[in-house]
Structure formats: C-alpha cells, structure tokens
Symmetry: C2
Subunit: 599 residues, 2 copies
C-alpha cells in the first residue's frame, strides 16, 4: 500500500491546520530559541566551549532541521530557511574529511569515535540522515544530503566492510530507519544492505548495554526475528520495529513482516495505554509486561507515542489493515497531542494518565521519589528529544491521511485536506475530532475506501445527496466514484464509556470516557480535588461545548464519606456536574489533579 | 491509669497463649540462631572479626534479651537462661571502665564515640537499658542492670553535665523511653531528667541528619512541643512520642500531654492504614502526609506497628480513652501479627496491603524498582530490628489487658487470662479474635469496666445468668461486682464492610471486610489471580470456618472483560465464592497475590 506524501496533501483548514499553523509560527521558533540558548546550535561549530555538549544534541538539531524542511516544503519562510542554512553550513563545514560528523565525539572524545555502543553516535547519524533526506525532498537543500551520504558511506565502510568499529549495532536504534529513507531517496542499495545488516546482527553478539540495564533494554537480548514481545526502552524498540517493517516491505520478507505484526499485537493488545501511550515504566523508559499500565506513575513518553504512530504507518504500508489507522488515530489525538501545550511552547516528556498534586508537591519538598511526572509542560529539557520530534511529526501529518493500492484510494484519517491521486482529485472536509461528520468530494473515477472509526455510533452515508446503505468490509466503506461524486458521512459521534481488560488491574471497576477519537479527562480546576471519588453512572444528557476548550459536561456523583479515617458507614453520593476536557488539553491551566479512569 | 503488668497476668489458653507458646518455644530460639549465625552475639566479645559488625547489632541483641527476660519471668527455661547469661557476661566483661558499651564503636571507631549523631549509639544504649530493666524486673539478672545504670550515668555525665559529646540528641530516639523505664525501676530522678533533657532539646539546635533526609526525618525540625503532625521515620517518631507521653504523665505536664494527643489524632485519623500500619513511604520509612496510604507500595514496618501499639498504651496510661485500646487492638491483630509467619520463624519488615506477584517477579528479573515489598517472610534481615521486636512484644501482651484507676478495674482487651488486682480476682475467657463472646468471673468487690469494641454488632450481657441491659458510657460497660460475679458478653461478631475516608484516594470505591478485630484479605492461592476484578456486593450468607486458617467465604462476583485491551462493552459479572482469611495469615502458603480493598 502506498501512502500519499504530505507534500501532495494540502491542509488548509480545520483542527490539524490550526496545529500546523501554531507549529510553523510558534513551536518551531520557540524550540529553536531554546536549543540556541542551551548551546545545541553553537555546538555544531565543533569548538570546545563552556557549555558541555551532550552526546545526543546533534539529534535534537537534526529533528529541528527535519521540522524546518517540512515547513519549507509547504511555504516560504526566509527566516526559517536562514536558520536552517546556518546549521547545515556548520555541519558541512565541520564534517571530517572521512565523512564523520558528531559535534560531541570529534571535539571531546575523538579517540572514542565508534568505540562506545551506548553513546548514541549512530542514533545521531540516523537523525542527521533523516533531516538531510527531508531537506532534499523538500527542495530546500542538497548540501546536507550530499554530506550525509558521505557519512553513510563512511559508516558502511567501517561497520559493513571493514567491521573495525568497537561495536556491531548501536545501543539506540534509529540509523536503520534512516538508512531505509536514504535508500528510498537515493536508490543506492548499499544503504538498504547496511540497514538490513544492523537489523539482522542485533541480538546475535551479546553486545554490552548500560550498567543498570537488563539485557532486553536495547532489544539485543535475541535476534530480532525471534522477538515476539515488545521489551526494553520504548523509543529504541519502536524505532527498530519501524525499520524492520520497512525492510520487510521492501524485501518482501514475510517472516520479518510476521514478526512486526506480532510485536504490534503485543503492544496494542497488551501494553498500550488508552491514550496510545507505550513504555509504562519510568525506570529505563521501558515496556514492562502484559497489562502493566499504571496511571499515576505512567511514563508514556511523547517520543514513544510518535514512534508508535510511525510504526502503525509502516505496518499499513506493509499490509493495510484498519486497525493500524485506528491506533494511529488513538495515539495522535491523545498521547502525541498531550505532549504540547496549547500555546505551542511547552512540552511533556512524560504523559501520566492521572495526576495528584499532593504527590508532586510532597516529592518536590522532601525529594523522596526517584521519579514523579511533571505537573505542567516546560520549554526545554536537558534530554529534549520530544519537542523537535513533535514539531517534525505535526508538520508531516498530511502523510497519514490517504493511501492507494491497486488503483483504489483509501481515506484513513478524517483530516480536512485535499489531494490528487492518479488524476483523481479529492477534497475532504471533516469536523473531527470535535464532531463526527465528514464530506468527501471526488472528481474522477475510482473506487474510494473510507475508514469507519471504531468509535462510531452507527454510520449514515449520502452519495450525491441520496442516503445509501454503506457496505462495510474490514472497517472500510467502499464507494465507486464516477465523474464528480459527493459523499457525506455521519459517524454519529457521542460520548462512550470505555472499559479496560480485566487484567489491567489499575483500571478495574473504572471506565474512561471517549468522545470520538479523544480520550477525555477531568481536572481539579474544573471539578475540585479528589477526582477519585467521582462516579459516573451514565453519559445520558451529556452536554458538549466547544469554546476555548472542548468540554463535555456529564451527570456524575461524588462519594462523600464522614470525617473518620475508617467507618462502617458507606459513603453517600452527591450529584455533581462533571466537566471533562480532551486529555490532550490537560495541564494548560496550571498545576492540579487530573484523571481519566472513573468509578 | 495504672495498667497491670504481664507478670501479674496469667495467659493459659486461647489465641494469645498459642502465640506466646510458639514465641517461647520456636521464635525466640530461631531469632537467636539467626543472630548467632550472622555474628550479632559474637560481636559482643568486642574483638575485630571477619564479619563487619553493624552499628545497631547491639539493639538486636538487646531486644532479644528483653524477649528472653519476659519468657523467663513466666517460666523456667535453663537453656534460654544460659544463652542470655552468656550475652550478658560478654556485655559486662567488655563494658569500658567509664561505663560505655557499644560493640561497634569501641572496636571499630573508638575515636568516634559520641561523635556521630546518626549512627544509633544512644539508640543501642536505650535498648540495652530496656533489656537490663526487663531482666531485673523478671528476677533473672542484676549484672546487666548494674552495668546499664553505670552506662546511663556516663551518658548523663557526657550529655547533661559536661555536654561534650558532638551531638545533643541522638538521630534515632529510643534512649528517652529507656531512661524513663530506668527511672521507674530505680527511682533515680537523674534518669528522668536526662530523658526530659533529650526530649526538650530535640528540634532546637538544627542538628544534622542523613544526607538524603529532609530535616523532619528524625523529628528535629522543630521543638517537640510544637509538633502537631507525625512526620519523618515512623519508628523514630513513635519511640519519641512514647517517651513524651511517659514524661507528660510522670510530670503531669498538660501541654506535653496535649501534644501527644494531637500526634495520636494525626496518625489515627489521617495517616494509619486499616491494618494499624503507619509510615507509608518506603523512602525513609516515613510518615508522609494526610491520607497518603498506598496499598501496593505501602511500607508499614512491623517495628512501627509495635511502636504505635506501645504509644497507644502510654496514652491510655496518661488518660484513659477507649480509642487507645481500640487502635491497639487494630494494630495488634493486623499489622503486628502479620509481621510473623505461622510457624514462628519468618518475619516481615514491610507489610503491604496488596500484593501483585507480577510486579515482584518483574522487579526481581530486571531490578527496576528501588523498592518492592517481599512476597514471603524471611528469617533474618540485614536490618533485623523487627524479629526481636516481635518476640519481646508478643511475650508482654499480658500488660495490655487490664488497668485500674480510682479503685475501678478496666478490661481493655479480651484476651483469655486471669489476674488479681487489689485483692479482686478476675478470670477472663474470650473467643476473640475468631468469636465475639467473652465471660468474666470476678471474685471480690469492685466496679468493673468492660470495653465495648467498635466492631460490635450489638451487645448482649448476662450477669450471674440474668440478661442485663448494659449501660455503655464512653465505650465501657460498668458492672458493680460483689462477692463472686459471673458476667457473660456477646458482642455479636459478624463480618462488616469498612470504608475509607474519601480523601484516601487509593481506596475510593472500595471496601474492606473486617471480622471482629481482624481485617480480612484474599489470596490468589484460594481465589485465583486478579483479585482487583472481584466485587463484593453483600456479606449476607458469609460462612465462617476455623481450620488451619480462619476463613470466611462470601458471595462475590468476578468481573470478566472480553479479550480486547479496551472495549466499549462493560465487563460481565460471574458469581464466585470468595475466600477471605485474616490479613495476618497472608503469605504463609507461598508467593501470590493478596488484597484487602475490594470493589
């Protein structure tokens, strides 16, 4: 299945357009400023400086460059172009004659180039390659593209030909998926061979990991083809799986494809939060085991969410199934969007599903916990991988709407946009995520397949004004279009309770409320503290308003106990109106309690 | 109020008798053996050895000696006496000429004697003094009694007269309560003065604590009279409060008494588990803040439970209120008894209220969590304070049954026993905790006051065979006895639901089941895994059996979801019979899940 690249998809209005406008006008500049202040751009000059360059600063810059490429692919922005050009010039200028570039190693530890498996060298290289391909494909720059091919050639020489580096695979997967992108862009098979090599050699050599890490941390505990459960550091795992799916598709490797499917199933059916979050443990930012999904001390990193969405996309390319788009939608509208503040300036690295101000305040005072999620988003982290990952992802959302296979056109996400595929013009208008209607205007002859979201409350369809009973197969409605066809869809969006599997003991006896693709939450600023005592018995009579925040008011009860710590008297119920907002909107009004799962 | 010492109370049958028999025949020997093997007794010889003597090993030995004293006070046991005598001889032989004794400092850091506030020196001294008083009062030994007076005199000289030690108060309270005991035994006021001094100086000098510890850790954040909330390390806090209550009583200090009352209220109404456990945080083994009572990662140390029971006893001595005995009963039958295995050999240091085998197994494999409670009891810990604390406590339970004030006799705990108070003979037979009946035979004239436990389901009383409407005032029934009086009581024991305060968010929407003084729990070995999915709607039809374990079978439901991780379909209910056992019996049948709070 071929997905349609965002450069061929125009997003001119609606929810995602607003996101992208904020991204291009605020976020990308704000992230630049924070990175500039912290020395990430100065580091590219490869001079010893006061600030201590971090081993993965290059990857931060690279993801920022990739974001800039995606913006510049769609519009002129001389200021942004200049900033990108400066960074590119610094990288190209300071690249070593052999092609190597790493602003940390070549300045501070030149003797250790390719000697330390866990220090992100090839991870940084991978992100630089991704940036270079993005800039090339955006028509913005060829210099970095040439430079990174040279770097990739050097890596090929050292790791594939001479094999004289001190490690065989990098402790943080990323180079693999980047090499596939470079192969796709250049057509040079050596890059695919190298990606394939890094994938296949992983887990075969008992390579060292961090001291603190169990050997599944970087997915090197066994050969990747033998892996059936997602383990270890979630971002590492998902970046690896993305490359595996890519290689499986390109090489038609059924066994590797089956491995990817098993890993997806393990995540989506046993290790995924309702928000699409993955990697529940803060210790090692890791996947743990089936159904271990704590809400308060969830990790659920923003980067892991983005990586999981990308893995869904790659799986759909490999063999389309509605479930991949379904999960993509869940991850996007919940965990990914929660990563950014409403003003586009602040970011969450960690995305808990429940927040207790008391725990945070106590830990801040007495410093007792090793880990406690932050109450509000911040502009930069020491480890600031998530902000530029968000800016590049948001800018490229257009790539996940449409796909095409055997002449049939698929609408996978209802994001207002237009495109042209094989001469067929499509204009999509959608009220999602706040509404459940969409209209599609098709000009040209084709079979159109429209995905039916699992949250639908019944589908009504009109084709050229006339109600038609939709024929749904494998969660897609097929419509044969001739000439100009106008399709309108109503998925009868309504708030629904969602229940977790009985084995997720954290959620037993509780339910979450979803509205279309959005998981809703309550905050104490709207509802008072102690959200745990709130019981929702029914969603009948729920009222939606879309103002500064999307809000759903539902009838609920608050359990009130007496004063005593323990009592033989059950608590009494008090009727309340509970205000729910999208999970992605939480923590935009200061510090407070937040909760998704209700009695 | 005067409580009647256990040496005047004979426990010849029933639940507590069985505990004490196991304690005297198995536990005390087993703890001895473990301590002997680990070098704790050899260390008393004060020679440098291979094993590294721990700074508080002396306190372990002292609590063991105290246990031996309590056993020997009641029965001859030549073997036990010999073991105690050997330890005593070693201590007396190696005591320094100035009176000082510490098997760690005098051997390994003689230059640091009284130089390090946080290294438990006066804590160890306190336990040795407690042991000496116990041995003296049991008529077992006078040598240690004399030696420890000499040690106390030396401490008095250094800390009260010369004030030349490097610290003013010890980082671990204990010496204070020990000095009160020594004052009570000897009548020498200097010991009371010294206890008073240590109490009053605490929190006035900004003394250093551990590096990791916030300054409330050892209750030195403010003068003790200004303290109104229980903070810091729970055992430290409670040992301090015990001494404060003692001094308040002896000196008739109303302000200090009021402080003790406020601290008790803070604990019992805001910081106590339903098991009577206190100190919820593993980090620093600390009290945290109001209503912070996590079940899975509870700390709830056995020593803290014992200390809290002792604090209740001291408060009752200060001014009797039924609530002190009520809480004593809760702590004793739940957290304290859970500290020991059914065979008397194993001990819990940490007492969680919910256990998930999956979490434990995962953490054991990948070593991710800083802390996870143990699944089963062990025979010795590196920090082995709890085992001998249990052996001394169990042996002295007789001291908490009866009290006397203004010629009136109080029955505070229904533990089968007999005693004579002021010429009045009392024989108490009780079926508690497994039954709710008690009979009291009184020979002599007195006003008897019988405590009515809060868990009663209505009280029926017969006096000399005739039903009498009990007059209950402040949770005591008063009966005027003349000559020989036979009273029988039926508290109509039945299983009851208990609800936590709404602010204990961990328990919201859940309830615990109590049977009389016992909190019940379910284990997976009886009920299968995933106890979180069990819902109990009613206790009607509950069936009690008392076999190897007390067991209550109740009608319950198990919520069953479909296979999916998340679903719009609510779980279905499946009827089950849920087997509950006393919380104190948990973890005696291998590793498995355990739960107290149910949907």
């Amino acid at each position: 299945m071929n997905t349609i690249d965002f450069k061929k998809v125009e997003i001119r209005k609606g929810f995602v357009r607003d996101l992208q406008k904020l991204n291009a006008e605020v976020s990308v500049y704000n992230v630049y400023k924070r990175f500039e202040e912290t020395g990430r751009f100065r580091a590219l000059k490869c001079e010893k400086r006061d600030e201590s360059t971090h081993i993965f600063w290059d990857s931060d810059v690279a993801k920022w460059l990739e974001s800039a490429a995606y913006i510049l692919a769609k519009k002129k922005d001389a200021k942004l172009k200049k900033l990108a050009d400066e960074a590119i010039a610094d990288i190209c200028k300071n690249q070593l004659p052999n092609g190597y570039f790493n602003s940390y190693f070549q300045v501070y530890e030149p003797e250790n180039i390719f000697q330390k498996r866990m220090e992100h060298e090839l991870y940084c290289a991978g992100h630089l390659i991704e940036a270079a391909v993005a800039l090339h494909e955006a028509g913005v720059d060829e210099k970095l593209y040439a430079a990174m091919q040279k770097y990739a050639d050097y890596i090929y020489d050292r790791f594939y030909v001479k094999k004289d580096a001190a490690f065989i695979t990098c402790g943080h997967p990323e180079i693999e998926l980047a090499l596939v992108k470079l192969y796709n862009a250049t057509g040079k098979k050596k890059y695919l061979d190298l990606a394939d090599h890094f994938i296949e050699e992983r887990g075969r050599h008992n390579e060292p990991s961090y001291d603190f890490a169990y050997n599944d941390y970087d997915q090197s505990h066994k050969p990747v083809r033998e892996q059936r459960t997602a383990v270890g550091h979630a971002v590492r795992a998902l970046y690896l799986y993305i490359a595996m799916a890519d290689v499986a598709r390109i090489k038609g490797d059924g066994q590797l494809a089956e491995t990817c499917g098993a890993l997806f199933e393990d995540i989506s059916e046993r290790q995924m939060y309702i928000t699409g979050g993955t990697g529940s443990s803060y210790h090692g930012e890791k996947f743990t085991y089936a159904y271990d999904l704590p809400n308060v001390f969830a990790y659920s990193e923003t980067c892991a969410a983005i990586a999981f969405a990308l893995f869904c996309d790659r799986l759909a390319k490999l063999k389309n199934r509605a479930v991949y788009h379904e999960i993509f939608e869940r991850v996007f509208y919940n965990n990914i969007l929660a990563g950014e503040s409403k003003d586009g300036k602040g970011f969450f690295y960690v995305n808990p599903l429940e927040f207790h101000e008391d725990i945070y305040d106590y830990n801040e005072t007495v410093k007792t916990k090793e880990f406690c999620p932050l109450p509000t988003r911040v502009e930069v982290f020491e480890c600031s991988c998530c902000p530029p990952n968000l800016t590049r992802f948001i800018e490229s959302i257009g790539s996940y709407i449409y796909s095409e296979e055997n002449g049939e056109i698929y609408v996978n996400q209802y994001i207002s946009s237009q495109t042209e595929i094989g001469g067929v013009k499509i204009v999509l208008d959608s009220s999602m995520p706040y509404g459940g209607r969409a209209s599609v205007k098709v000009v040209g002859d084709c079979r159109l397949r429209l995905r039916v979201p699992a949250w639908n409350g019944g589908v009504a369809m009109r084709v050229n004004g006339a109600y038609v009973q939709p024929q749904i197969a494998e969660s897609y409605i097929a419509v044969d279009c001739k000439g100009e066809t106008k399709i309108s869809l109503d998925f009868h969006i309504r708030p629904r309770f969602v229940y977790a599997n009985e084995n997720v003991w954290y959620d037993n006896g509780r339910k979450a409320v979803e509205y279309g693709p959005m998981v809703l939450c309550a905050e104490s600023c709207d509802n008072g503290k102690n959200l745990r005592a709130v019981r929702i018995r029914s969603l009948a009579g729920a009222k939606k308003t879309v103002g500064e925040y999307f809000m759903l008011e539902v009838n609920a009860e608050r359990l009130r106990s007496g004063e005593a710590l323990y009592s033989y008297e059950p608590p009494v119920s008090e009727k309340i109106s509970l205000k729910l907002i999208p999970y992605f909107s939480w923590a935009n009004r200061g510090k407070g309690d937040m909760q998704i799962w209700f009695l």
